[in-house]
């Protein structure tokens, strides 16, 4: 058990603390001066600490200086954050092999080293908690992150100095280190030594090894007074009450364009931030693509490729969009996603911005306290009941092998692969879910499941880039690796006793086919069923024979239309909303499922609403740039949502303006 006793470690005995940590089998990582800054690195000797060093920071500026005094922890906020060790900049993920038709994939990951983090400040403790929460929130969590965090013993230090860029007080994270916030040991530095408190049984064990005298009440009070002075020095620079709502209502503020004039979109703020966790996956392989490796590396919402989908287009083409994404995520939508602010007030982003943009200033300008309430872009979710996810036992989530048993060409660029899959989880997929489909040496795309069978699944894939092209080139007998099934499925059960309308545009029919299968498998449970199909031209229609057979049934209505056609086509030509916008069925009893290109879904949702279908009963599925598929890489974010985890199926009501707003 943790005792409340405070002990005292004389300055001269600091090496004993390091010794005790080493005796616990740990490598000590802590602050040291290098290249004109304080960074975190491995320490073997207390002499390597920044004894007598202080730093001064300002927007776009960081300077260290030796002040000749003897304190080791007065250096302020270093460049490095502890995420360098819990969420390293490059992490190997998997190795895979392709021999002819056969594929094997195995995760890579040794046990993380046992470390001791020496010098963790209160704000950094909060950052460790916040980032870990984010990494445990998805369906499988990030076991690598959790393992690294668990392998670290945290020796916190209270701040006895403040920098001009600190604002932990406003964010509620410091400067005091309070019990039960993740520290194993807590040090408070005085001139002649350190007050030592233990914060966990592991910390208590270390203290036990050191056999320290108790601290005097004078010493304890000196420490408390110094920390209190830091709190006074910092003040309360950021008005955080109601900030998430104020920011959410300020998505169209003119200041965003103003910041964009100055912002370099260089990503420095996100990479120095101790809670930013976004990553991308890099593929490496030998010349033949037979042996491949994937690794995960730090990425940033400021890079164009982060929000890329079609071709070179990006969801966030303008710097203004990217800066808005970062600031609103950090201070507003982080609350929707993880139940806290994403910012701890460490001030690194202010100091290390090459052009000195100061978030405190920007927040005050964009979301001032006295702002009049603006339009609400999406309903703010109640802090979601997202308890930390149970951990997967391997990293990444296990791959299931699938064998191609049939290849059907649907159109010039689209193929349906019929896959035999032994993995029961994948065969238990629900309509609307997707898998990450992997061929060694290629990027890994998310593909919607287009049919679910007891012994496997179908994937309908459009060759729109090298990786999807490689998938469509697979022949019968080829193997590929799947991860999943992921995503929130279509709420088919909720449509029970309702009339059902299904609107599919182009390849959007693929994720809707399992809905049709499910409804027809239990036809009696549903009211009238109407299927509206749109495609570019007659030659671009999917599942032509199957849909024609459906058209022959009396228990559902099927109508199709194409955008353009030659004179041989005697069917309908026009846009898919023309199939139902002048019908007379009662929209109030309808649950609608819609999928197709973004523009088509927007037009369809609007037309359905005009027909009386409630937005809360209109469901669509979104597509975003995904690397992990499980909510830990950050790429698929849309406002407060992770499309891979909160979606890809959403109701029009819950999306609000996220469905149509540009640059989100």
């Amino acid at each position: 058990m943790v005792t409340a006793a405070t002990r005292f470690l004389a300055r001269a005995d600091l090496d004993r603390l390091l010794g005790a940590l080493a005796a616990d089998g740990r490598r000590v990582v802590g602050p040291t001066v290098a290249d004109g800054a304080v960074v975190y690195d491995e320490l073997e000797d207390p002499a390597q600490l920044p004894i007598g060093w202080t730093s001064e920071t300002g927007p776009g500026s960081y300077r260290v200086a030796a002040d000749g005094a003897g304190r080791a922890f007065d250096y302020g906020m270093p460049l490095t954050s502890w995420k360098r060790f819990t969420h390293p900049s490059v992490v190997p993920l998997s190795r895979s092999r392709r021999e002819g038709n056969l594929v094997s994939v195995a995760p890579v990951g040794d046990s993380p080293p046992k470390l001791a983090f020496l010098g963790v400040r209160a704000c950094e403790l909060a950052a460790l908690r916040i980032q870990e929460r984010a990494m445990r929130a998805g369906p499988v969590g990030d076991p690598d992150h959790v393992a690294r965090r668990e392998a670290a013993l945290v020796v916190a230090v209270e701040c006895m100095t403040a920098q001009s860029t600190c604002f932990c007080t406003s964010m509620g994270t410091g400067p005091e280190v309070v019990p039960d916030t993740g520290a194993d040991l807590i040090l408070s530095e005085l001139d002649d030594g350190f007050i030592v408190r233990s914060g966990s049984p592991a910390g208590e064990a270390i203290v036990g090894l050191l056999d320290l005298p108790l601290a005097t009440s004078d010493q304890a009070r000196l420490a408390t007074d110094q920390v209190a002075a830091v709190r006074t020095a910092i003040g309360d620079p950021v008005a955080t009450d109601g900030l998430p709502e104020r920011l959410r209502a300020a998505l169209d503020h003119p200041r965003w364009a103003d910041v964009a004039e100055r912002c370099l979109a260089c990503a420095n703020c996100t990479l120095v931030c101790p809670t930013c966790f976004c990553t991308s996956v890099v593929v490496a392989s030998d010349l033949d693509g037979r042996e491949a490796r994937t690794e995960r590396s730090w990425d940033s919402c400021f890079s164009a490729g982060f929000g890329r989908v079609a071709g070179d287009a990006s969801f966030r083409p303008k710097v203004k969009d990217r800066y808005r994404q970062w600031l609103t995520h950090k201070f507003s939508t982080w609350w929707d996603q993880f139940g806290s602010s994403g910012c701890v007030g460490c001030g690194r982003c202010i100091a290390w911005c090459p052009v000195g943009i100061d978030v405190r200033e920007e927040l005050a300008a964009i979301a001032p306290v006295d702002a009049t309430a603006g339009p609400v872009p999406w309903p703010m979710s109640p802090p979601p009941g997202r308890a930390p996810a149970p951990l997967a036992t391997v990293m990444p989530a296990p791959h299931a092998l699938a064998g191609v048993s049939q290849v059907s060409r649907e159109t010039a660029d689209t193929v349906t692969l019929r896959l035999d899959v032994a993995d029961p989880a994948i065969c238990a997929a629900r309509p609307g879910q997707f898998v990450m489909a992997e061929i060694p040496a290629f990027a890994v795309p998310p593909i919607s499941i287009s049919r679910i069978r007891p012994d496997g699944i179908d994937l309908t894939i459009r060759a729109a880039g090298p990786a999807t092209q490689a998938l469509t080139n697979l022949s019968v007998g080829a193997e590929l690796a799947l991860r999943g099934p992921y995503g929130r499925p279509w709420p088919v059960d909720a449509a029970q006793d309702h009339d059902v309308v299904i609107v599919a545009g182009g390849i959007g029919l693929a994720p809707l086919r399992p809905v049709i299968d499910a409804v027809l498998a239990d036809r009696g449970r549903f009211g009238a069923v109407r299927l509206y199909l749109g495609a570019r031209t007659p030659r671009d229609r999917l599942y032509v024979a199957e849909m024609a057979a459906l058209g022959g049934r009396v228990d559902l209505e099927v109508a199709e239309i194409v955008d353009r056609a030659g004179p041989d086509w005697l069917g309908r030509v026009g846009i898919v909303t023309q199939l139902f916008d002048q019908t007379t069925w009662d929209g109030s009893t309808v649950t609608a499922f819609v999928c197709g290109p973004d523009r088509m879904m927007q037009a369809t949702a609007a037309a359905l609403e005009r027909r009386g279908v409630a937005p809360a009963s209109t469901w669509l599925t979104l597509e975003r740039n995904m690397a992990c598929g499980v909510g830990t890489c950050g790429r698929c974010q849309l406002g407060p949502f992770f499309v891979c985890r909160d979606g890809p199926v959403f109701s029009v009501a819950e999306l609000g303006t996220a469905l149509v707003r540009e640059g989100l």
Binding site: G465, A467, T468, P567, L570, R572, T577, P597
Partner: protein, 158 residues
């Protein structure tokens, strides 16, 4: 067909359904129900638009010719849709070729006759022109979306 019967048929179409009943009768008086065999060319692109029609059943295709490519169907009309609305405009020329692609039935209006009737009857003109505007607006909206070519394949990041 008797005007009163035609009025009922008109009232069952999208076009006629929102017209006041009295207006429906006056409009019906200017038209006639016609059976249109499959393949009938009702209007030719660029030629004078001599008639306007409201489709009651069947299907009509609107086609344009692109030299070197051939005929393209740009839209089809379903029961309730209007073709030949250019007939009520000055210098009425058909904007596309209208062909029946299935055995169809439509209420046809002689262009000159309809124009005269609308000029003489301003109350009728008001409701008919508004409904025609809605028709054209709906078609313009659809055409714009077709123009976006939303289904075309663009490269993906994978």
């Amino acid at each position: 067909m008797q005007t009163s019967a035609l009025t009922t048929v008109l009232g069952d179409t999208w076009f006629g359904a929102s017209l006041p009943v009295a207006a429906r009768a006056r409009l019906a008086g200017a038209g006639a129900l016609a059976e249109i065999p499959d393949g009938t060319v009702l209007l030719e692109e660029g030629r004078p638009c001599t008639l306007m029609g409201i489709l009651v059943s069947g299907r009509v295709a609107l086609r344009l010719v692109v030299r070197g490519v051939g005929e393209r169907t740009i839209m089809t009309l379903e029961p309730g849709d209007v073709f030949g609305w250019s007939a009520v405009l000055p210098r009425a020329l058909a904007t596309s070729t209208c062909v029946a692609v299935a055995p169809s039935v439509a209420i046809l209006f002689d262009g000159v006759g309809l124009l005269t009737a609308l000029e003489l009857d301003s109350e009728l003109a008001a409701v008919v022109y508004r409904r025609l505007l809605e028709t054209v607006a709906r078609r313009l909206s659809a055409t714009r979306v077709q123009l976006l070519d939303v289904y075309r394949t663009v490269g993906e990041p994978w």
